[in-house]
């Protein structure tokens, strides 16, 4: 099993790699190179940074076409994390409206800081929606670590589980080979390691 962490030049990729090693994933490549990504069985789209900067990098390198080929045409399993999850959606209003990769029917907008402190940072409870591959053999409500100012909402069924902060938003989704978590599984102790394990074993 070979997994590629898609490197788009931002944030802490090291902690994802180290979490994967911890759950005995041996073959990990960190790359934005099309060949490397093609050779991998699974993709992880990590997530720190701003939506606009990330999309600019992705489009600049032609990574959007590569990801489209691998994820939509070849149906390789992909897990988007935090910003990486948001990038899989249609659009975000961060720094003006920007188009995402458009793989999933979700839109991203900002939390209202009149009602809650923004960013939403810390562990929060996610009501796990079953049946689920990501949460297989896990309890109904669990704590995961979030750190974000923008949230995804979806009008259709994308296998989403919810978290509540000011209002309900998409904490995770899973639809076919495409999955995403708004929280950071690599920073959520045992709960998060279990989610990564499920992604590696069941997708």
């Amino acid at each position: 099993m070979k997994v590629a962490i898609v490197d788009y030049g931002m944030g802490n990729i090291r902690s994802i790699a180290s979490a994967l090693k911890y759950i005995n994933v041996r073959d990990i490549v960190i790359s934005s190179n099309e060949k490397e990504l093609s050779k991998s069985d699974k993709l992880i789209l990590p997530g720190v940074g701003s939506f606009a900067s990330a999309m600019k990098f992705i489009k600049g390198r032609g990574l959007d076409a590569t990801l489209n080929e691998l994820v939509i045409q070849q149906e390789k399993p992909v897990l988007g994390i935090c910003l990486g999850m948001q990038l899989l959606g249609m659009s975000s209003d961060e720094d003006g409206v920007n188009q995402g990769l458009g793989f999933i029917d979700g839109v991203v907008d900002v939390f209202d800081d009149d009602n809650v402190t923004v960013p939403h940072v810390g562990f929060n409870q996610v009501a796990l929606k079953h049946p689920s591959l990501l949460y297989q053999n896990m309890q109904d409500t669990l704590d995961f670590y979030f750190v974000h100012s923008h949230k995804m909402t979806a009008n259709s069924d994308i296998g989403q589980s919810f978290c509540h902060y000011d209002e309900s938003f998409v904490a995770s989704f899973e639809k076919g080979n495409i999955a995403g978590t708004q929280f950071h599984p690599e920073l959520s102790q045992k709960n998060g390691l279990n989610v990564l394990k499920n992604f590696m074993e069941l997708f």
Binding site: S18, P119, K190
Partner: protein
Amino acid sequence: MLRKRIIFTLIYENGFFNQSRNFRLQKVGNIDWLEKNYRLQDISFSLDEIIVLNASKGDKDIKRFATILNRLVDDVFIPIAAGGGVNSIADAEMLFKNGADKIVLNSALYEKPNMVKEIVQHYGKQSVVASVDYINQDVFIKNGVQKIDTPLDLYIKHIESLNVGEVYLNSIEQDGTGFGYDIDTIQKISSEIKIPLIVAGGAGNEKHLLKAISMGNVNAVATANLFNFIGDGWPNARRYMLENNCNLAEWKS
């Protein structure tokens, strides 16, 4: 429900971890000592985040600091924030690449606001923690030695205008005393602040942590006290706080 957080701060200076008292540092041990006395892989199950600060005087040797950071965070699956002497985007990038999930900025908030904005722009506001050292209404930068002309409450507004993600509010007067947090100032600042607030300085035991964490707009309590939470200190503190209905995350096996 959003949980509150317990944060352990490690003060690093030229190869050593330190106990700080009113910002005077006392060498405790190097990374071998730290790993022997605080197995971070184990105690991270009692913590929500770890902050590592480079308080080296003069040349901060951020490269060496990054190497230590890299070793420190192995197999630790909670967020790590790191900072101290971040003077450029390249410095920030080096810390991110070596295991930091967030960057802590202090003097740059005052001296290089444009660089702060640039880091925020690139890495997102949630990746930036603004550290503020104060005594009463006076704010100090440069490891707490240089007083600036902006009073604390206005300085917090200035920081918010830079669009950073969180504020780490540290009382120089309470620092390392173990007498408890500066509740009066925390009360004042927390009633006005619009972004998440981490309070630091003065915690000597779990009762102090519980008192501050129970305050309305306080999102997290931090302590850099290397002596008071040694051994089973952290697991015991977390258990005590959970028993007292503190709103903390729980990890079931």
